[in-house]
């Protein structure tokens, strides 16, 4: 009988009874052929592969990560909480040492879900990876985490959640935001003032093929990962870089995905997007799973013609190389730049943003302030409203907050009514509590 070289946990939860809408890409049928392929290949029978059944995450698990002003139940349905729960189930098994690696094949995805969520955006409602990571960090002695988001769309939600966290390295490799939703993830987005460089964006030009993608991973991503020395490596494993994906313009293959997984060697991988449900997903997932288990995947080849023949145009090769060079240069100077920022600035850094929610067709106005701090991620406050709705205040105390930042944050929360906020929410991570007033 075949055995896996690495003990691998799998959650395969296709949610056959859930869709955003009947013909939406995020529909019942999405993982049908993937499940068929995995079952037919007998991958669940492999010695060393264990399947786990997901359990929905609790409201408290969600509130450790998100502010949902309209309530967690309004934003996240059962399907979302089960998807996040699938990821968390594997994280717990990994932490307990039952498995070396885990792959959560769950839907719906989560990487467009930001810290404040008024509704769904980009097919996502809550951030599966962040909920998993924060539950683990809260309950166990794990601090430094790296997330490599290989979905073709920029992982703007995960970026937002970890923007100010110096202990979480977030690397997103995606199709250039000028050509694809959500239109962010440019190279100059490098993390907040207390976490400069901990966000790394690698926007690739459309038509980047296996060669360019894997080169960036080998030459740029892996050295950064090595520098960062994470205790836990997560892959947000979107599958929409595939040449057959209907929503994107990249030229990546199933074997490329297997090789990518082999290179990254993530402890845990969580499915994100990928909508070529019949022509790409079955083969990509097989490739990823085989790579996770340490088995060869040379026979995982799409059974039809690849329009490009897998050849990457010269100008793309050069463009990818330039992006890699620049990314490495920026990474090397991160500490220097953070020191410069702290030398010139005062108490808080501010940013103002408008965020579009495609599912509820609404704009959110956000004003965010973070306390500049040399000791922690910094007390964070976000004033938010939907359209002309009431202003609410979301206050976040980081898990490893210093005493000054925690005091400052608690004070913001107390004073919220005086400042005219209709409601205020407090994520007090050191105490693992969530308060509303």
């Amino acid at each position: 009988m075949l055995s896996a070289r690495h003990e691998t946990g799998l959650v395969l939860f296709p949610a056959f009874d859930w869709a955003i809408e009947a013909t939406h890409p995020e529909r019942e049928e999405r993982l049908l052929y993937t499940r068929d392929q995995i079952c037919e290949e007998g991958l669940l029978d492999l010695e060393g592969v264990r399947e786990y059944r997901p359990e929905p995450v609790s409201v408290a698990d969600v509130q450790r990560v998100h502010f949902c002003p309209s309530g967690v139940e309004t934003v996240a349905g059962e399907s979302h909480r089960i998807a996040a729960g699938g990821a968390l189930r594997l994280a717990r098994a990994w932490h307990a040492g039952d498995i070396e690696r885990g792959f959560a094949l769950v839907r719906p995805p989560g990487h467009h879900a930001q810290r404040v969520m008024h509704g769904g955006r980009g097919f996502c409602a809550i951030n599966n990876e962040a909920i998993m990571i924060e539950a683990l960090r809260q309950q166990h002695d794990i601090r430094r985490v790296a997330i490599i988001d290989t979905d073709c769309h920029h992982g703007d939600g995960t970026q937002d959640i970890y923007w100010h966290d110096p202990d979480v390295l977030f690397i997103s490799i995606h199709q250039d935001g000028r050509t694809l939703y959500p239109g962010t993830g440019f190279m100059d987005e490098q993390g907040g003032p207390n976490a400069v460089g901990a966000t790394v964006n690698i926007p690739l030009p459309p038509r980047t093929s296996d060669a360019g993608y894997l080169e960036i991973v080998r030459d740029t991503v892996l050295p950064i990962l090595e520098d960062f020395e994470p205790e836990l490596v997560i892959n947000s494993a979107g599958q929409d870089n595939h040449f057959a994906d209907p929503l994107t313009d990249m030229d990546f293959s199933a074997r490329g995905y297997a090789e990518l997984t082999r290179l990254l060697a993530p402890d845990l991988a969580v499915l994100e997007g990928g909508y070529s449900i019949e022509s790409a997903l079955p083969y990509i997932n097989m490739g990823i799973l085989l790579a996770m288990t340490g088995l060869e995947s040379d026979h995982v080849v799409e059974p039809y013609r690849r329009p490009s023949g897998g050849v990457q145009p010269e100008e793309i090769t050069e463009a990818v190389r330039r992006i890699g060079t620049r990314t490495r240069a920026v990474w090397a100077k991160r500490e220097q730049r953070q020191a410069q920022l702290h030398a010139v600035s005062d108490e808080c850094a501010h940013r103002t943003r408008e965020i579009y929610y495609d599912t509820i067709d609404a704009f959110e106005h956000q004003h965010e302030a973070v306390r500049l701090c040399r000791h922690c991620g910094g007390a964070l406050r976000i004033a938010t409203r939907i359209g002309d709705g009431p202003q609410t205040l979301a206050v976040h105390v980081p898990l490893y907050a210093c005493d000054d930042c925690r005091r400052a944050a608690l004070r913001w929360f107390e004073l919220a009514p005086d400042e005219g906020f209709a409601a205020a929410f407090l994520q007090d991570r050191p105490a693992d509590r969530y308060l509303i007033r």
């Binding site: 949610a15 013909t23 019942e28 052929y33 290949e41 399947e51 059944r53």
Partner: protein, 558 residues
């Protein structure tokens, strides 16, 4: 009158059942080299109680084929496999005569590369030259479209005595298991055919002309004639007979654990709603995972005759059985000896048992009575831990929908039924260890033969319809037919039901069918619905032909 026969490796149990209950019963020694002689002897021990012509059904269960599989006393088989993208099919090699031929079908049953018949011819020639007479043909996704398997089978049919195809063994997806199961079917075929002839001959000799059935691993029966087409199905029906024998005393309203405590092992199975739970895919025989429908059961190496030792000051039991208990002339201390030493069993020499226990007590540094109790306690704890493990496993098994995950049935056992040799003495100890009531299956010596006698025919059928491509196909047959865009789940269900009843034959009547897979997807391409993908799996739950409550089948509460 019904005859139930359970032929084990060492002895055979036989019962003759009349409307009033067990009319005659017997236990005879098995002659593994002459099944016919064993059958004749067993028949003679019960047929005195009736006219042979009054027998209307004979059901046989046996472990003889299993023993052959485990002992590898099987014929060489040629395997022809076609695969496509995925794991390298060379890794599933079944033996010397294994060849991969070009040709591939995808997950929706579409041909993605054509079959190479020249390659098939070459392989067939090689097999034939090597003296191969039985061949298995398996394609990846052949349950979605058997065209390649059928193409190969047709091409090579004349050269070999018998060709088995993968899509006939099961409707379930699992290519490696399909290869293993088809290989198993082809390799037990000649043995099974001899077996078939011996049964037919023995019954003919004694004037019994009733239809003959074989018990399968799923606790259902298959007619002897049909078993020639799927000989692997009757492998490992041993545990099934005992579990079926426990059904008459299990309440259909409860989830129940069945423990069949033997000499070497204890088999654990679960009943829910009066029917045994089945393995999700199929039984595992030795290291081989198959698609043979089977009762969900776990075997642990703790039985009445298991070897008891003291290792680093701690008691260990099993998994070896060195022979009979000390008190019956065996070589090593066993849990049975502990029971005898405590005066809870009279089947052995108490002095020998006590001496054995005293030796263990000296090693443990405690009183002999305490050592004897510790042995029993340890055995019970191991058994109960395995029960909990099995229940957890069932409740944690794969689901595909939110509905199943949140509202699906979870197994919560309400009682434990025990049978087997040491069951009576061990039951009170198990009861003390468990929160659940523990009850003894009455007449547990022949409960297995009764279970076999009363088991009803079972079968399963998977239907898959793809209305975009316009076809419907179903497992276990070569049939495929066209459908149009208006084809619906309701029609599919009706057709599947009719086909399954047809396959079961008139003797089975119209048993209640259970729909175990019921999925319907819109196939959406480019934001519009282009068809429907319907998947149904129906099965007859294993159960008894008619309620069987003979007078003596009253539960002994422990």
């Amino acid at each position: 009158m019904i005859i139930g026969l359970d032929v084990g490796g060492t002895h055979a149990d036989i019962v003759l059942l009349g409307p009033e209950g067990v009319r005659a019963r017997a236990k005879v020694d098995t002659d593994p080299d002459d099944l016919g002689a064993t059958l004749l002897e067993a028949l003679d021990r019960v047929l005195h109680a009736t006219e042979p012509t009054a027998v209307r059904r004979v059901v046989l269960s046996t472990t003889l084929t299993t023993n052959a599989v485990v002992g590898a006393g099987l014929s060489p088989v040629g395997m022809l496999v076609c695969a496509g993208p995925g794991v390298d099919p060379a890794l599933y090699r079944t033996g010397e005569h294994y060849a991969v031929v070009p040709g591939a079908i995808d997950h929706r049953g579409r041909e993605i590369s054509p079959l190479d018949l020249d390659a098939v011819d070459l392989c067939a020639e090689r097999f034939a030259a090597a003296g191969i007479r039985y061949v298995g043909v398996v394609g990846k996704f052949s349950t979605r479209n058997p065209a390649h398997e059928l193409g190969i089978a047709e091409r090579i049919a004349e050269r070999f005595e018998r060709v088995f195809t993968g899509h006939r063994v099961s409707g379930q997806l699992n290519f490696p298991r399909r290869i293993a199961t088809t290989h198993l079917a082809a390799s037990v075929y000649p043995l099974h055919r001899n077996f078939y002839e011996a049964i037919a001959e023995a019954l003919r000799t004694r004037g019994v002309s009733a239809p003959v059935h074989l018990l399968k691993a799923d606790g259902g029966t298959l007619s002897l004639a049909a078993s020639l087409d799927s000989p692997a199905e009757t492998v490992l029906s041993g545990p099934a007979a005992s579990v079926m024998g426990a059904i008459p005393v299990a309440s259909p309203e409860e989830d129940v654990v069945v423990l069949d405590i033997g000499g070497t092992t204890t088999e654990i199975a679960l009943l829910s709603g009066g029917s045994p739970l089945l393995e999700p895919l199929g039984i595992t025989i030795g290291a081989t995972r198959t698609l043979i429908r089977a009762l969900l059961s776990r075997s642990i190496g703790v039985g009445g005759d298991s070897e008891v030792r003291c290792v680093e000051g701690k008691i260990t039991i099993g998994p070896r059985r060195l022979g009979a208990p000390l008190a019956r002339g065996g070589p090593a201390l066993t849990p049975t000896d502990a029971l005898i030493a405590l005066g809870e069993s009279e089947r052995g020499d108490p002095q020998v048992a006590t001496a054995g226990v005293a030796e263990l007590a000296a090693e443990l540094g405690c009183e002999p009575a305490m050592a004897a109790r510790a042995v029993i306690d340890h055995a019970c704890r191991r058994i109960m831990a395995a029960v909990d493990g099995l229940v957890d496993q069932v409740n944690g098994s794969h689901v595909d929908t939110i509905h199943e995950l949140l509202d699906g049935h979870r197994i919560r056992p309400a009682r434990i039924l025990v049978l087997g040799g040491p069951a009576e003495s061990l039951a009170p100890h198990l009861a003390r260890r468990s929160q659940l009531p523990v009850e003894l299956v009455p007449d547990s010596g022949v409960a297995n033969a009764i279970g076999a006698a009363m088991a009803r025919p079972t079968d399963a059928l998977s239907l898959i319809a793809d209305t975009e491509q316009g076809w419907v196909s179903c497992s276990g047959s070569d049939r495929q037919w066209r459908c149009d865009r208006s084809y619906r789940r309701e029609q599919a269900l009706e057709q599947a039901r009719a086909l399954l009843f047809e396959r079961l034959g008139p003797e089975a009547g119209t048993p209640e069918l259970e729909v175990v897979e019921d999925l319907e997807f819109n196939i959406v391409r480019g934001f519009s619905t282009v068809g429907r993908n319907i998947r149904l799996t129906l099965q007859v739950k294993p159960g008894l032909l008619e309620p069987f409550t003979p007078e003596h089948a009253k539960v002994a509460v422990c």
